[in-house]
Structure formats: C-alpha cells, structure tokens
C-alpha cells in the first residue's frame, strides 16, 4: 500500500486549521500533563502544595524501597497473568467450538459478545453482589461445599473475585478475535490433513493452533494492557484494593496515593514507571503489527 499520495492539495494554512482541534486536545490533556508528571516525579511538595523542592531520584528510591509498592507489582503480575491466561484459554475453547458449529453460530456469537457492552464498574458490582459474604447467591452455594467465602477478610478470595469479574468482562473480546482468526484459516489445509487421517485433536494442535499464534500473541498483549489499566473500575467497585492492600494493582495505587494520600511526588513517580511499562507494551505490539503485515 502506498504511504504517500501523488495528488495533494496546496494550502499554507488549511492543514494547520485541520489538525488544530486534535493538536489542542493532545497538547493540553496529554503532553502538558505527562510533562508535569515527569517533573513532579523529581519534586517533593508539602501536603498543602505551597512549596516544592527538587529532590532528584529520591521519589523513585523511596518507591522501590517501599514494601507496599513492590507488593503492588507482585499483585499486578499475578492478576494480569491470571486474567490473560484464563481469559485467553476459555475464549479459545469457546471459539474453537463455535467455529465447528454450523447451525446457530450467529446466535452463539450474539449471546457471547454482550459482556463487551457492560462497563467494568458495573461488572464489578454484579460479581460483588453474587459473592457478597452474607447475601450473595454464589457465596451461599459455596458454604454448602464448606467454603466460608469472605473477600473482605480473605485476600485470596478477593483476588479470585476481581479475576473472575475481569475475565468475564474480557471473554467476548478475545472470543471475537479468535473466531475471526480461526475462520481465516483456509479450509483446504484442514481438509488435506483430514484426508491424511489427522483427527480433530491433532489437527487443532498441528494446524490451527500454530496458525493462530499471531492472534494469540496480539491478544496476550491486549489482555495484559487491559489487566493493567482497564480493570481499575473493577477493583474499585469490588474490593477497593482490600483487604489491606492485597488487591491494590499499580493503577489503583497511583490513584490512591495521589488522590487519597496526597503524596503527589510518589504518585507521579509511579505514573512515570507505568508510562515506561506502557511504552514497552506498545513497542512490542507495534513490532507484532509490522510482522503481521508481512506475514
């Protein structure tokens, strides 16, 4: 595909007018605040914001010496691995079977994609309600199996709750991509393997799964980004980072330290660390997209 037009219009001012709205928004609400975050991460201000002093890398040193921050890293890692792993495997399973089904395929797709439309915060509230220790219908059922569910006290329960809500919310998205990926694999490949005597299980592992690996990798990155950033609402609605700080993922901690504990320097330093993570993930994604084009 050509990346340049041969035919262009000529005007010294019109293109600037056209990009002005976008430029104004990204200047005021993206670059300026990001630069501020970077500046603040090297500063220390008192609680009233009346005086600031330059402290160099002290905020970062303090951050990594802080056990709760290191713990928050671990929490985020466990959470994202669980969300991405469970979300990808469940939706792959559903997509593989949906790809086999001829009759009713559209009905299944329609019934499976609607959680995409549910706000993460609402998903958090729904799951919170089902698992509420005293009145929840699932926690009642769990008691029959001898499990005394209480995510307000038990941090493993709290983690399970937010993972379930996050996976539930993301399944539809992964499912759509897996299904599209499976349907783009040429039928002739699968037919040839079937003629050679490969049974469905073997065909899946030797043909479909390898051809699906670019999609899987793409979805893995997207799911990690989702677990890092878009699940803030689920955490805030379902556990508020508790019990203690055991479900406080990194984004939640930035919010909490900046807006509740008013530690601006520390919060800004955390933002800068997060920005580094986003840049890394974006680069990985972009590399993949490039590869995908020549693939």
């Amino acid at each position: 595909m050509a990346s340049e037009k041969r035919v262009v219009f000529r005007s010294a001012w019109l293109p600037w007018v056209l990009v002005a709205p976008q430029a104004a928004v990204i200047g005021a609400f993206f670059f300026w605040p990001a630069a501020q975050a970077l500046l603040q991460s090297f500063q220390q201000s008192d609680a009233f914001g009346t005086s600031t002093e330059w402290v160099g890398l002290e905020n970062f040193q303090r951050l990594f010496a802080d056990d709760t921050y290191v713990a928050s890293f671990k929490t985020t890692a466990v959470f994202s691995v669980l969300v991405a792993g469970l979300g990808l495997s469940l939706s792959l399973l559903l997509a593989v079977f949906a790809d086999r089904v001829v009759r009713g395929a559209l009905v299944y797709r329609t019934l499976l994609i609607w959680p995409y439309a549910v706000a993460p915060a609402v998903a958090g509230v729904l799951w919170l309600f089902m698992f509420a220790p005293s009145i929840g219908i699932v926690s009642y059922a769990l008691r029959a199996f001898g499990i005394d569910w209480n995510h307000l006290l038990n941090s493993e329960h709290a983690m399970t709750l937010i993972v379930l809500a996050a996976v539930w919310k993301q399944i539809s998205y992964n499912f759509l991509f897996f299904l599209a990926g499976l349907q783009s694999i040429p039928r002739s490949l699968i037919e040839a393997a079937a003629i050679d005597g490969a049974r469905p299980w073997r065909r899946f592992w030797t043909i479909q799964f390898p051809l699906l690996s670019p999609t899987t990798f793409f979805l893995f990155v997207i799911n990690v980004v989702y677990a890092f950033f878009d699940t803030f609402a689920i955490v805030d609605a379902a556990t508020q980072g508790g019990p203690g700080k055991d479900t406080a993922i990194l984004v939640y901690k930035v919010y909490y330290d900046g807006f509740k504990a008013l530690d601006l320097g520390g919060s800004a330093a955390q933002s800068v660390v997060l920005m580094g993570i986003v840049i890394a993930l974006t680069v990985i994604q972009f590399r993949f997209v490039e590869k995908k084009v020549s693939y």
Partner: protein, 283 residues
C-alpha cells in the same frame, strides 16, 4: 465441516451452551434481584424466580426515590449525562480524527510527520498514567463538574486517526484529481467525497467509541464531585458504598440493568459494524 462426527458436534453445542449460561448467569441474577424487594434479597439465598416489584424498583431508581443509605440521586439524570457524554466523545473523536487524517494524507506541510508521531505517541499516555496533572489542567480551566470536563480530555484518538489515515490512503488518487479538475476545493472534496466514502468506518468507530464513552469510570470519578453530574457508572458505585446491609440491592440492580442497556442495544443492533470496527481499530 470436514467430516461428520455426531459426538463432536454435540460436544460443541454442550460447551457453547455452558459458555453462554456462565456468561449470562450474572445478568440473570441481576435482573431477578431488580424485581424483588430489598428484604427479599437479604434472605439468603435469594429466590431465583423474578419477584413482583419490577416496575416499582425501576421507577424508584430512575426518580431517585429509593431508600438508599449512601446515594439517592435520580438515575434518570445520570443516564442523560452518560448519554450526552458518550455521544460527544464518540462524535468528537470521529470529527477531529477525520480532520487530522485528511490534513496528514492530502497536504504536504512542514512538520507533517512530527504531527503524525505526536498523535501516535498519545497511545502511550493513557489517562491512568497521568491522572494527577490532567486533573490539575482540567481544574485550572474550571472544567470540573462540566460536560466539557467529562468529554474533551477523552476526545483525542490516535487509533481513530490511524484508521482514517489508512482508509484515505486506499482511496484512488483519481478521485482527488477529478475533484480538482472540476474546480472543487479541498474542503469541498473532503465533505462531498471523503466523508461519504468513510461512512462505514465511521459507523464502526461510533459503536466502539460510544461504549468506550459510556463505560468511562476513572476519569468521571475524578472530575465530578457533584451528584448532579455523575454519569450512571459512577452513580452505581456510589450507591453501594454504604456496605452490605445499608445497600438497597434491588435499586442498585435495577440501576445496573439500566446502565448496561444502552451500550448493549448499540452492540446488538450494530453487531456487523461493531465486529468490523473492533478488528479494524485494533489490528
């Protein structure tokens, strides 16, 4: 289907039906809870048969006449705010992305590639990583608790700009040539040729961005402190902050159903564009 294997076919349906049931179960529980009285829900286990208070609960939620301990704001108002916010974000994103993509593809101007990359880099600055300073900017502009504060900071869109850029690059040069020979200026060409050609991309983007706008949480949480400016997604969270016992779960669940209805309707009605939009914007 490559071969006929009745057992595998049945297994496929069983797995899919199980999947659908698991995905739908939370919705069903929510709906049932929204038809019962607050006391019925508190009797564990709550009945899984719909109760008789459907209309009362929804009216109470919409008008804000529930007995809520934590928040009693009318959900009708919140739905309106969410609707305006989602529409402004979706349409605003499409409009400014169309304009900047047009400028980048059809004009040669200094720093063209710098502008292009500046837009691209915003992908790496999600609101979550710059909440403090962005809040500061919005508050300095006096945009707290306003529609502008809720929408403008979210209107820039790198992905939409890229989508339109890619699309414009596939538009044949002859069209622009013909427009020029006919004496049409660039804006004429943009409005009469490019925009109509982009209609399907716009529809697809609209679905995705409407849902994005409707479901925003962190940003409205920061910029709205006044109950009368809460979008419904924030309102529902405020309703449950009083703890288990003080929460009117029937009203909360009615609100949850109301909050997910508009985006669900958009997805179901526009499923074809929605799928296209997802695959186009993300890949």
């Amino acid at each position: 289907m490559v071969e006929r294997r009745p057992t595998l076919g049945i297994l496929a349906h069983v797995v899919l039906i199980l999947g659908v049931l698991i995905v739908a179960f939370p919705l069903y529980v929510t709906f049932v809870a929204s038809t019962q009285t607050a006391n019925e829900i508190l009797q564990a286990p709550m009945s899984l048969v719909p109760g008789s208070h459907l209309v009362e609960n929804y009216v109470a939620a919409l008008k804000g006449t529930g007995m809520g301990a934590a928040s009693n704001a009318p959900v009708g108002r919140m739905m309106f705010i969410s609707l305006v916010t989602a529409l402004v974000i979706a349409l605003g994103k499409i409009a400014i992305s169309l304009l900047s993509a047009f400028a980048i593809v059809y004009f040669r101007f200094p720093f063209r590639m710098a502008v292009f990359w500046a837009i691209f880099v915003t992908l790496m600055l999600p609101v979550e990583v710059r909440i403090g300073p962005t809040y500061q900017v919005v508050s300095d502009f006096g945009m707290l608790n306003t529609y502008a504060g809720l929408t403008v900071p979210l209107i820039a869109s790198a992905t939409a700009t890229f989508l339109f850029r890619q699309f414009f690059l596939t538009v044949p040069d002859e069209l622009a040539e013909a427009a020029r020979i006919d004496g049409a200026g660039p804006m004429r060409f943009f409005l009469d040729v490019l925009v109509p050609l982009s209609a399907t991309s716009c529809a697809a983007l609209f679905v995705i961005q409407f849902i994005y706008g409707w479901n925003q949480y962190l940003w409205p949480l920061l910029v709205t402190t006044d109950e009368s400016m809460y979008p419904v997604v924030i309102g529902i969270k405020r309703m449950i902050s009083g703890g288990d016992a003080a929460t009117d779960w029937n009203i909360v669940m009615a609100t949850a159903i109301l909050a997910m209805l508009p985006p669900a309707v958009v997805v179901l009605l526009m499923q074809r564009w929605f799928v296209k939009g997802l695959v186009d914007t993300e890949k």
